[in-house]
Every structure is written in structure tokens, then in C-alpha cells.
């Protein structure tokens, strides 16, 4: 008897929670703004400029989703999160999606109950050392002091790598990338390890970048991507296909400059389906027919976003590498719009 009452209560609670969580898309539309979790600041990926406007690679994903859902790329409330607060912010419903260079891992997906909707940047953990140290491989780092950000996957990868190679290290735990940079330059650690993109961005800001080298070893796979809560597949689909639309647009040659004429003048049926001049893909998602058009027109396609924020023309200067389209030998690949 007691048990059934308890189970009944749990079921009701579960249903209520399900009902509350089922309508993120409706919530966002009703609210008129998208609550998007970002980092408190990472060069090239997310940072506010002198006017307080957020810019960056991850920020563009948030803005693209806002443009697709609400038609306005500025209808985003950016919620800055740290490595420690990001998952609770998403799980508690404070934010609708998290685009914060977060690595897609098994336990985050399964145990923490999030849905990673795709990968917008393939990264891997690397090492940076001063040239003066005379080290040419990470395997020579026996006994080194290593600056490492706490609460991240890099911490665990580092431990695995050193254990597998049977060498020792001394960790210097730090909180943010900015702090790490300073500690490393001040000589508090011999080695700084984080995602290779972060290392390149960090090295670019040094007074003498040439005095530091990135070691050839990449010791982990770090697929970074946006994520949403478990249990709301409609909303997950919206975010997933917005990201895919940006990727497909690059593959099909649709850019922010030509999206208008492509929508009306293109002979390619996939372009027409993507931009909503043919078929009912937008309606299936619960969005306007020109949802992808709005996202691409305001943010540009994947390649444009990459080039504008972190590409080789920027001070960060990252090459496309793994993040080239699959047609150019990279891993960036979107399922077809059909």
C-alpha cells in the first residue's frame, strides 16, 4: 500500500517533470529569448567585446539557434558558466542549451543525462613547453610540473597518459585559462596542457611566441559540441539541425552573402529544401520555413563562422585541420537534408 502510494507520487512527479521539460521550444518562443550557457571567457570561442556584445565561435551557435527559432540573432540571454557550474545550470533549467567548448564523453552523455547534438569543433589535448626546456616529445616530460585546469577532461587524460607511459608528473591545478597563461609564463610550471586550440590561441598572445613550442603528441580526442537536457527530443532536434544547417550550407556553397539569391535561384533541390523554398522541413521542426535561411544569413555558414572567429586570418590562427569539410579530408559532416 505504502509502496504504491510512493510509486504513484513518483510517477506524478515524473510526469510533471516530463511535462515541464517537454516544451523547451515553446518556452523559448513564449519567453522571446534563448538562454544560452557560454564560458566566462575563452579567446575566440566566447567573450564580450568593448561594447558588451558577445562574440565568438560558440556564441555564433547560440545566435544561429536564436535566429532559427525566434528570427532574431540578438534575442539571446548569455549565461556565463564556469567549468564547475555549467552542468548544474543546464540540468536545473536555468539555460536552454550549453555551447561552452564542452567535450562529448560517455559519462556526460549517459550518466549526467545530457544530449550532445553534434560536434562543432574536433579538438585534442596537447602540450606547450618553453623552447629553452629542450624537450621534443611529451614522453620526455618525466618529473615535470604541469599546469592543468581543474574539473575538465584534460585533467583525467593527463593522468591516463602519464600512467600509460609510466612516467611521473606534478600537477599545478588552476581555475581559468587566463590564470594558466600567467602561471606558465611566470615559470610556475614547465608544461601547460589543454586543448590544442586553446594552446595555439594562448601562444598567439605571448610577447615572444617563438620561444614556446607545441609538442607533437595529441593525447586525447576532444569533440566539442553544444548540448541540451535529456528527455526533450524536439528541442534537441532544433539545436542539432541548426548546427547541421550551418555545416551543410558550407558544403553546398551557401554563404551569408548569397543566401538570398540561392534560396530563389538555386537549381539544387537540397539547397532549396535547406532554405525552405521547397518541402516542409521547417514545419516538421515546429519552425518557420526559412529558419535555416535566417540562421545562415545572420551568422554565415560553418566555414565563415570558423574563419571569422578562430581561423588563420585571426590572431588565434587555427588551421581547419580535422575541422575541414569531409569533402576536404576533415571530419565535419552533416546528414542530408531530405
Amino acid at each position: 500500500m505504502k509502496k504504491s502510494v510512493l510509486l504513484g507520487a513518483l510517477t506524478v512527479a515524473g510526469l510533471a517533470a516530463g511535462a515541464a521539460a517537454a516544451g523547451t521550444l515553446d518556452d523559448v518562443k513564449a519567453r522571446g529569448t534563448l538562454n544560452c550557457g557560454v564560458t566566462t571567457g575563452l579567446v575566440g570561442f566566447a567573450a564580450p567585446d568593448a561594447n558588451g556584445e558577445w562574440n565568438g565561435f560558440d556564441v555564433s551557435v547560440c545566435r544561429a539557434v536564436a535566429a532559427a527559432v525566434l528570427g532574431d540573432p540578438s534575442a539571446v540571454e548569455f549565461v556565463p558558466t564556469t567549468g564547475k557550474t555549467r552542468f548544474t545550470a543546464l540540468a536545473s533549467g536555468e539555460i536552454d542549451m550549453l555551447a561552452r567548448n564542452t567535450t562529448w564523453t560517455f559519462s556526460r552523455d549517459v550518466d549526467l543525462k545530457f544530449t550532445f547534438v553534434g560536434v562543432n569543433y574536433y579538438d585534442g589535448q596537447g602540450f606547450m613547453v618553453p623552447k629553452a626546456l629542450g624537450v621534443s616529445s611529451a614522453k620526455d616530460l618525466d618529473g615535470a610540473t604541469v599546469c592543468i585546469q581543474t574539473g575538465t577532461t584534460t585533467e583525467l587524460n593527463l593522468a591516463d597518459f602519464f600512467r600509460a607511459n609510466n612516467i611521473s608528473y606534478e600537477p599545478v591545478p588552476i581555475e581559468t585559462n587566463a590564470e594558466a597563461q600567467q602561471q606558465y609564463l611566470a615559470g610556475a610550471c614547465d608544461v601547460y596542457t589543454t586543448d590544442a586550440s586553446g594552446l595555439a590561441a594562448t601562444r598567439a598572445t605571448f610577447e615572444a611566441p617563438g620561444d614556446h613550442v607545441l609538442l607533437p603528441e595529441i593525447i586525447s580526442k576532444e569533440p566539442l559540441g553544444p548540448l541540451v537536457r535529456h528527455g526533450d527530443d524536439e528541442w534537441g532536434d532544433v539545436v542539432r539541425w541548426t548546427l547541421n544547417a550551418l555545416i551543410t550550407a558550407e558544403e553546398l556553397g551557401v554563404t551569408s552573402a548569397n543566401v538570398g539569391e540561392m534560396a530563389s535561384g538555386s537549381g539544387n533541390p537540397e539547397v532549396k529544401r535547406l532554405l525552405g523554398t521547397e518541402g516542409t522541413l521547417g514545419e516538421m521542426l515546429g519552425l518557420d520555413a526559412d529558419w535555416a535561411q535566417k540562421a545562415i544569413a545572420t551568422q554565415g555558414n560553418y566555414g565563415e563562422i570558423f574563419a571569422k572567429n578562430i581561423g588563420e586570418e585571426t590572431p588565434i590562427g587555427l588551421a581547419r585541420g580535422l575541422n575541414a569539410q569531409w569533402t576536404n579530408g576533415g571530419l565535419i559532416y552533416s546528414p542530408p537534408f531530405r
Partner: protein
């Protein structure tokens, strides 16, 4: 006597020698240096070493400061101009000063509002801090919290008015019933205030907030040094009365009150502030439904206030314990009741003893407000660590930014400390 001297000792001078300067070595800067800097050989050595250290520090910092650059738009440009010579890149301050002071989301055209609130703070604090000023000024002090709220957050003017009405109603009920019984007055006052606030809350609608003359600014958009000041001022001024109440409660003869106070103080003092802040920002979000959560700023204010109230309570308890028992007995023998004895005899003396301790807690608390940067609120340190160092232009500027933060905090904390020393001198009535 003088006559005999005049005749028997004719060599005695009859006119006085004109005054002369003291010997060169026994006056002026030389004497000062001798007495203070080179009194003994050991002192002399120490002086020379100290002078050398000061020289080293200045030689390292002065060129850096004087050679500073104020007008570039990125760190790379600074380095280009300096071209290898030593020099600071203060351009980050001239470009981002507004973000450092107000956070990056506070609307630029509204900066005058928090600035005005800051200036009025001095007017409001003056009669509390300097009790020679006319007492009528305290009326403004009582109104100040509502004015400051209206200035900083904006929105409809109904909100502060309803808040004032609630306080007035509560105060009136308290005055009316406190003569009968303290508890009736106290709880009656609270109930009356709550009733007025709830009724008034019905009047304030979302539309009113949007159509208000003063644009509403959500708490999320506050930041920079403004946030530190707001947290510091609010929490210190709330935690002193709360701390007094806790200290008195801990000495109470009523076991229930006493144990509540003891448990509260010991629990809060036994937990690090950062834990409380994490609870405020992360855990409470789970307990409230997403759309009706309590404002993050308010949650943080509550946590910091509780934390510093526990410390201030212990400082004041020290002051109470330092009073001779005779003072309590004297109060009793005059026929004063508990409230009168405390207000007229015990607390004025106990608080005077506690001033250095209270100021110590206040200064520490003010600096602790920078801890909110770890729960992703953009106070001064949060702005530096997050957005500014993460921008492509300014990534890599540390000394200039953190030095600026240190300077701001030093000015405020030194001011507080100077005031407390003045206050101690002013209140020194004992015969020392």
C-alpha cells in the same frame, strides 16, 4: 644679591648674548637623520639596506609606469609601440574602464544612475558616521536604500514606494504594541509589513516595469566594481544589526533563543564562504522552479550577510564580555528594563570596545565580495579574469588590470580603516 654680584664679579656680562642658531649637527634635517636613521651603527646599516631596496623597487616600477601607453586599441599595438622597451599597457584601462566599474552589460547611457547612487551614499552615510551632524539628516539615510534601489535597478517607482509603505506600516504597528509586549510589537510589525508588501505586489505588473520612466536593469546585468561596492555596503550594513542581535541572543537566559543563536553562529563560522556561495548559486536553483527563482544577487547578499553576521556576533560578544559585571548591576539597580539597559548602558560601551574588530570584519568582508567571481558573477575580479582577459585584444595584460583592482580596493579599505581610527579617538572617554 644682584648688587653684590655686580660689584664683586665685574666680569659677569651685563648684556645677554644675541641668540644664535643651534650647531649645524644638532638641528634641522641633519639632527633628524641622525636621531631617526643613523642612531647606532646597526640602525645605519638597516637604513642603507632599506633605501637600496626602495631604490630597486622604484627602479623596476617607475619606468614601467611612466613609459605606460594609454591610447592603443590592443596589446599587440602596445608591444609594437614599446618595441622591446619596458612600459605598461594602460590602454586596457582607458578602453575598458567602464566595464571594470559597471560590468559589461549595464547600459552605457544609464551610468549616471549608479554614479549618482554612489555619491548619495556619502550623504546618507555621513550622519551615521559623523554624529556631530544634524540628526535630521538621518531621514535621508532611512530613505537611501529605496532611492539607491530605484536608481540602480530602475523599473516602476511603485516598487520602492510599496517597500517604504511596508516599512512604515511595520514601524507603526511596532510602536503601537511594543509598550504592551515586545514580542507582540515585533511580530505584529513583521506581519503588517508583509501584508502591505503582498498587497502592493499585486499592484505592480510586468507592464508597469516595462513602461517605467527609469529603464529596468536586471540583476544579471550588474557587474564590475559597482557590484563589489553594492555587496559590501549592503552586507556590512545588514550584518551589524543582525550580529548584535545574535550576540545578545547568545547571552540570553532563554534556552531556545540561546541555542538557536549558538547553532547558527557555529554552523556558519564552520563553513567556508565559498561553499555558501556555491549553495546560493548552484544548489538553490534545483529547489526553485526555473521561472520563479529568487534573484541571484539577493541570494548572494543573504549568504554573505549571514556569514559576516556570525563573525560580527562573536566580535561583539567579546565586547560584552569585556564589560565589568558592575555595569550590568548598575543598570539593574537604576531600575532599567532589559531593552533600556542594553540600549543606554551596555551596548554603547561594548560596541566601542568592538570597533576595531568590527572594522576588521568589514574590511575582510568587502574584499571577500570578489569571491562571487567563482559563481560566474562579473564583479571587478570576475570581469578581469573572464571577459577582458578572454578578448583577443587584451589577452595577456595582467599587471595593469590587477594593479588597478588592487588600487580601487586599497582606497576603500584604507578609508574605512582611517575612519575607524578617527572614531576610536573621538570616543576615547576613559582616562588613559
Amino acid at each position: 644679591m644682584s648688587d653684590t654680584n655686580q660689584h664683586s664679579a665685574s666680569f659677569v656680562r651685563t648684556e645677554s648674548i644675541p641668540e644664535r642658531e643651534p650647531p649645524y649637527a644638532a638641528s634641522g634635517p641633519v639632527k633628524w637623520a641622525r636621531d631617526n636613521l643613523f642612531a647606532t651603527p646597526a640602525n645605519g646599516v638597516l637604513t642603507i639596506v632599506a633605501a637600496y631596496v626602495i631604490y630597486l623597487i622604484l627602479a623596476a616600477t617607475l619606468p614601467w609606469i611612466l613609459n605606460g601607453i594609454w591610447s592603443t586599441s590592443s596589446l599587440a599595438e602596445c608591444r609594437e609601440i614599446l618595441d622591446g622597451t619596458t612600459g605598461a599597457c594602460f590602454s586596457v584601462l582607458s578602453e575598458r574602464w567602464n566595464q571594470l566599474l559597471f560590468g559589461f552589460q549595464y547600459p552605457e547611457e544609464l551610468y549616471w544612475r549608479p554614479s549618482l547612487a554612489f555619491l548619495l551614499l556619502f550623504v546618507a552615510a555621513a550622519p551615521v558616521l559623523f554624529f556631530d551632524l544634524p540628526r535630521k539628516l538621518l531621514i535621508f539615510t532611512a530613505l537611501y536604500p529605496f532611492i539607491a534601489y530605484y536608481l540602480i535597478w530602475g523599473g516602476t517607482i511603485l516598487t520602492p514606494i510599496v517597500a517604504i509603505l511596508g516599512c512604515v506600516a511595520g514601524g507603526y504597528v511596532y510602536q503601537r504594541f511594543v509598550a504592551g509586549s515586545f514580542a507582540a510589537g515585533f511580530f505584529g510589525g513583521i506581519v503588517a509589513a508583509l501584508v502591505v508588501w503582498n498587497l502592493g505586489g499585486l499592484l505592480i505588473t510586468e507592464e508597469a516595469n516595462e513602461a517605467a520612466v527609469m529603464t529596468a536593469v536586471p540583476s544579471r546585468d550588474l557587474g564590475g566594481f559597482m557590484l563589489n561596492m553594492m555587496l559590501g555596503v549592503t552586507c556590512v550594513s545588514l550584518s551589524i544589526p543582525l550580529g548584535i542581535a545574535l550576540a545578545l541572543g547568545r547571552q540570553s537566559s532563554m534556552p531556545l533563543i540561546k541555542w538557536i543563536c549558538v547553532v547558527f553562529i557555529e554552523f556558519i563560522r564552520g563553513v567556508p564562504l565559498i561553499t555558501l556561495l556555491f549553495v546560493a548559486s548552484v544548489m538553490l536553483a534545483y529547489f526553485f522552479p526555473p521561472e520563479s527563482s529568487v534573484d541571484l544577487f539577493l541570494r548572494v547578499v543573504i549568504m554573505i550577510t549571514m556569514f559576516s553576521a556570525a563573525y560580527i556576533a562573536e566580535v561583539i560578544r567579546g565586547g560584552l564580555a569585556a564589560l565589568p559585571k558592575g555595569q550590568y548591576e548598575a543598570a539593574d539597580s537604576l531600575g532599567l528594563d532589559y531593552a533600556q539597559a542594553m540600549r543606554l548602558i551596555i551596548l554603547p560601551q561594548a560596541l566601542k570596545i568592538s570597533i576595531p574588530g568590527i572594522v576588521n570584519v568589514a574590511v575582510g568582508l568587502f574584499k571577500d565580495t570578489t569571491l562571487v567571481s567563482v559563481i560566474s558573477m562579473f564583479d571587478l575580479v570576475g570581469m578581469i579574469r573572464g571577459p577582458i582577459l578572454a578578448s583577443t585584444e587584451w589577452n595577456g595584460v595582467y599587471w595593469e588590470l590587477l594593479g588597478f583592482a588592487a588600487l580601487l580596493f586599497f582606497v576603500v579599505c584604507y578609508g574605512i580603516s582611517q575612519y575607524s581610527q578617527w572614531l576610536e579617538r573621538r570616543l576615547a572617554t576613559d582616562h588613559r
